[in-house]
């Protein structure tokens, strides 16, 4: 089976996949903000269950869910360590050098769940939305800023081009690495510093090539009539229908339940 990288789009036709990308971004953003307002552990757990439910609903592969947590494990452990041992309060376990406090224990559980939920939400968004839809959704989200003369079209085009360049740059990095390995380069031996330094001959040509590509792309864009700041039409449009209305109602009900839980256990 192919290796998953975080948030890689997974093609299945579920309710969440079909949802309007603009609304999806707005709702995910709303849920992230909502998460930071929660105070009780019960509400946090309910939110976590809700996140897992959304993953099941979206029919995302279990393997991809597991691998999506790999990049945050270090961050998670690092944060937990500091919260657990360096939060002042009532000591529950004294290890002489390090002390675990009641407040530290509770804070680290809160932060761990918060980080896990944040990862689930981000994963949900990128795994159920194509890059085209993500770019379109982002464009629509920032569209109101156009009245302040914010370069909405340019920014969304920039994002869409960057997203499109990601696989190309990965391929190129792989090609450069193989070329350097063929000439005896070793990327796996030595300590962290030595290994990081051995990547320099990969990073430098990659950056230079990226500049070269950007230059050629700019020329190709201009040769097809693109002028920065010029008014242009948009081929992609967002549709709003029954599914979107259902999603809003669903999230509103979820919010209501969260507030009830907060009220009961606060």
């Amino acid at each position: 089976m192919a290796k998953f990288y975080f948030g890689q789009f997974q093609y299945t036709q579920t309710f969440f996949h079909k949802l309007n990308p603009t609304l999806k971004i707005v709702l995910i953003f709303y849920l992230v903000i909502l998460l930071f307002f929660l105070k009780t552990i019960e509400a946090y757990f309910f939110f976590l269950v809700f996140g897992v439910f959304l993953i099941i609903l979206s029919k995302l592969s279990f393997k991809s869910v597991v691998s999506s947590f790999k990049p945050i494990i270090f961050l998670l452990l690092f944060t937990l360590f500091f919260q657990l041992f360096f939060t002042p309060g009532t000591i529950v376990l004294d290890l002489k050098v390090l002390k675990i406090t009641k407040e530290g224990l509770s804070l680290s559980i809160y932060i761990a769940i918060r980080l896990i939920i944040l990862t689930i939400l981000t994963f949900l968004l990128t795994s159920t939305t194509t890059t085209t839809d993500l770019a379109l959704g982002f464009r629509n989200v920032i569209l109101p800023f156009k009245i302040f003369k914010f370069p909405v079209e340019e920014l969304s085009l920039m994002i869409s081009i960057s997203l499109q360049f990601v696989p190309i740059l990965f391929e190129e990095a792989d090609r450069i690495m193989k070329a350097q390995m063929a000439r005896g380069a070793d990327f796996e031996s030595g300590n962290l510093f030595v290994r990081a330094r051995s990547f320099l001959p990969v990073i430098l040509p990659l950056i230079l090539n990226a500049f070269n590509r950007a230059d050629q792309l700019a020329m190709a864009m201009e040769s097809r009539g693109f002028i920065l700041g010029m008014k242009r039409t948009s081929y992609r449009v967002s549709k709003f229908g029954k599914n979107e209305a259902l999603a809003i109602i669903f999230v509103l009900i979820f919010t209501l339940v969260l507030f009830v839980l907060e009220g009961i256990y606060a």
């Binding site: 770019a135 696989p167 590509r213 190709a220 040769s223 693109f226 039409t233």
Partner: protein, 268 residues
Amino acid sequence: MLEFQNVSFSYNGDNWVLKDISFSLKQGEFVSIIGSNGSGKSTIARLANGLLLSQKGDVLLNGSSLKDKDINRLAKFKVGVIFQNPDNQFVGITVEDDLAFGLENMGLDRNIIQSKIMEISEKLGIKSFLHFPPSLLSGGEKQKVALASVLVLEPDYVVFDEVTSLLDPINRKMILNTILEINRNRGVLYITHHPEETVFSNRIIVLNNGFIVRTGTPYEIFSDVDFLSSVNVSNLHEAILSKKLLEKGLIERFSLNLDEIVDQLCLN
């Protein structure tokens, strides 16, 4: 008509990459440009639709200079340019988005854009991968998409800047056939390193050190084997073979046709 009138161009103001270049391209005409590396071929492609502006002389589209802002804008849609590496030309995340890009710049309505995309994708046989990211396509398919993204704008002239140089022989042939097909009602300016791709041309222009050193029919250009080698331009295998056989007295007439060369050899 697309016309280069005594065009000279320099990137830095000192070294002239192109010197006093003059030629024209009519609709339906196929003009090839050959020349060694650094002879100024790609600069001609960039001058043709106003990406670059000449310091001396003028590039004219239907008699109007591309130095005029409005004509320059018009030239972007009337003179399409396709570059060597398709990967560096894709703007859209999917093939469909990429085809839409130029049409969005034209300010066309969504429905018109859609119908034009459908029409060109059907014509070039790329309809099945409209929703694919271009990065997933093969080299030949990518170049076809790059071609479609320019042709969808319905240009009168198309400039091909070494478009087959990254392709294998099968894909090269496929792209060439497509180019010949679109040449029926469009002017084609074909820049290449491969002499065998220019045999269909109405005219071939040979560039050397920024100068046009010769213009002629394929026969006129390739039959002068010594001249082409003196300007470091590769020749057709048939031309080299024919010249060597002629020098050895094994054939009586110079020919670019392999069958004719073989017939002459058999007769002797």
